[in-house]
């Protein structure tokens, strides 16, 4: 907002004249509510990985949802194991603009014993060429929470 006003005061930034192209900067503050997913993010700050267990059909979701997509019943929060395995992976050498500074980074989908669905996270501390499907991994948590899903990541474990 401030910058927009500033630019109007200074005039427009022209990027081209034929055709006429202006630089138009915009940014916003958005009130992103986690709403019913909030306990998951609070859980991360307590070094807990919270999934959802269906009270009716028993389906267990690694990525939480407050209602079961199998049967429609409400779910309960349940603690997931902190160790799992790499279900699949990739190392990204490019990315969306906000993540470019963080490249290369490795993404994994984690599978947990006794849990029906998967969880997306980053894998840290591994040479990309040594990552493979089935690799045992353990959850690590940020000391200072930022209340984002990146408050949890995974590392290779030998157990």
């Amino acid at each position: 907002m401030k910058r927009g006003i500033h630019m109007h005061a200074q005039g427009s930034v022209l990027l081209g004249v034929d055709p006429l192209v202006l630089l138009d900067h915009y940014e916003i503050d958005y009130h992103h509510s986690y709403a019913q997913d909030s306990p998951f993010f609070v859980g991360l700050s307590k070094k807990k990985l919270l999934g959802s267990c269906c009270t009716e059909c028993g389906y267990i979701y690694a990525t939480p949802r407050s209602h079961c997509m199998e049967c429609g019943a409400a779910t309960d929060w349940c603690e997931l194991p902190l160790t799992g395995r790499v279900h699949t992976f990739t190392t990204c050498y490019f990315g969306g603009e906000v993540f470019l500074d963080e490249t290369p980074f490795t993404l994994i989908l984690v599978e947990f014993d006794g849990v029906d669905s998967l969880f997306l996270a980053r894998l840290k501390g591994m040479e990309p060429s040594t990552v493979h499907i089935g690799l045992p991994v353990v959850a690590r948590f940020a000391k200072t929470p930022s209340f984002k899903v990146t408050d949890v990541w995974f590392e290779h474990t030998h157990r």
Binding site: V21, F94, I108
Partner: protein
């Protein structure tokens, strides 16, 4: 439901940037081309329109389809916008089909566009990644190429698919596009060059991934009566289907395969489906479209396919979803030569080319992917194939599939969250 026909189409060349044309002018060019191709047709026969574009972030103009509607001089006729990620164009085509099949309209225009050049490539990737869950997926490193890379890693693990097989798709589609003047990125490539191009997300390189584009496309759909009156060679839309899957890949089940008529449960005794290696929504879309069109064995009954190859890997995954081969055989399907054009030299050692050409146009990999236009571009190419008019429209008949009777077009969103399949037939 009434029979529905496509009577004309047009494309505004897909390019990295059309800085001198906004979305209204891009659509107008494709629209005027379509009108010129049916001289006995006139604008007043259009009962309404459906517009398609993917992202308000890219356009920076909400209600942009309304501006196209007035630019084309179609006010006050019915109009709406359809949006469904990468499948926006396919959904738009089917929405126009619905308007006629239901009897609500006798003629409906489908138009689509995207203007992706106004931001840099990596901001564009960020905009696209916002079409993933913003609580759980986007913040981890939201990047569609990363999501597709994870899917193909699992496909390679389950089925032994190789990066060389992926690269063959890239070679095929880029070479096909050499004879398509509407394409953005036609070129001759080798498997080695695909593998040696910069790594984006392992195992996908720059040449495994489509580019962003500016472009537009239009299709005119009509009732049987109107089509017979104004068009010498209308093309019948014989079947439509669509499907969906969970927004987050992590939530996909690991269950049983949804079978097509030519498959049996014993084909997939140990396969946990769809997992992240297959697109259940694509299988659903294909199944519904085949049922409506009366197709029992797609490999035998289709003449060509234009499918959503945003990634070389997703082309291989889609062969399987559409039942062109069994699940797990997609890599070998491309190696067999089946999806190549019979008479095009690819510089590859292919056993037997041309059984069922896939993406003769060059697909998204070579044509580019101006999202809202892409699914309609596929329909226009399929229309020209089935009319036998590719040489008239492309200036060259290299890409004409001989005796093309029936074509399939496939439009795909997200990590497989919305998918459409439409079957077109020559008359």
């Amino acid at each position: 439901m009434r029979p529905v026909y496509m009577i004309s189409g047009g494309i505004t060349k897909f390019a990295k940037a059309h800085i001198n044309k906004d979305f209204r002018l891009m659509v107008k060019e494709a629209y005027d081309y379509a009108l010129r191709d049916v001289p006995r047709f006139s604008k007043d026969m259009i009962d309404g329109a459906v517009g398609s574009y993917f992202s308000d972030h890219f356009t920076r103009q909400l209600k942009a389809a309304s501006m196209v509607q007035d630019y084309l001089g179609l006010c006050p006729k019915p109009s709406k916008r359809v949006e469904g990620g990468g499948a926006t164009g396919g959904l738009c085509f089917q929405s126009a089909w619905e308007a006629i099949a239901s009897g609500r309209m006798n003629c409906c225009l489908a138009f689509g566009f995207e203007t992706m050049s106004r931001v840099n490539t990596w901001k564009g990737n960020e905009f696209i990644a916002l079409a993933s869950d913003t609580n759980f997926d986007f913040p981890v490193g939201g990047f569609y190429s990363g999501y597709y890379a994870m899917m193909v890693q699992r496909h390679m693990y389950e089925f032994g698919t190789t990066v060389e097989q992926l690269a063959m798709v890239s070679v095929k589609n880029h070479v096909n596009a050499l004879c398509n003047p509407y394409a953005q990125k036609a070129k001759r490539l080798s498997v080695k060059q695909v593998r040696e191009s910069p790594m984006v997300a392992t195992p996908l390189t720059m040449e495994d991934i489509c580019t962003m584009s500016d472009g537009a496309a239009t299709c005119i759909l009509a009732s049987e009566e109107l089509a017979a009156k104004v068009c010498d060679r209308p093309v019948r839309i014989a079947g439509v289907g669509s499907g969906s899957d969970t927004m987050r890949m992590a939530d996909r089940p690991h269950d049983k395969v949804m079978l097509l008529p030519h498959e049996q449960e014993s084909d997939y005794l140990h396969l946990r489906y769809p997992g992240v290696h297959s697109f259940r929504g694509g299988r659903m879309a294909g199944k519904l479209a085949y049922e409506m069109a009366g197709i029992r064995n797609p490999l035998e009954e289709l003449s060509f396919v234009e499918l959503h190859d945003a990634y070389t890997s997703s082309e291989i995954q889609t062969y399987e979803d559409l039942g062109l081969c069994k699940y797990g055989e997609g890599g070998r399907f491309v190696e067999s030569g089946a999806p190549f054009m019979a008479d095009v030299n690819y510089g590859l050692d292919i056993p037997k080319a041309g059984r069922l050409p896939v993406n003769p146009s060059g697909g998204l990999l070579a044509c580019g992917h101006p999202v809202g236009a892409t699914g309609l571009m596929q329909a226009v190419f399929a229309f020209w194939q089935l009319q036998g008019t590719t040489s008239k429209h492309l200036g060259d008949d290299t890409l004409q599939v001989q005796q093309a009777k029936r074509g399939l077009i496939h439009s795909h969103a997200g990590t497989g969250t919305y998918i459409t399949v439409s079957i077109l037939e020559a008359t």
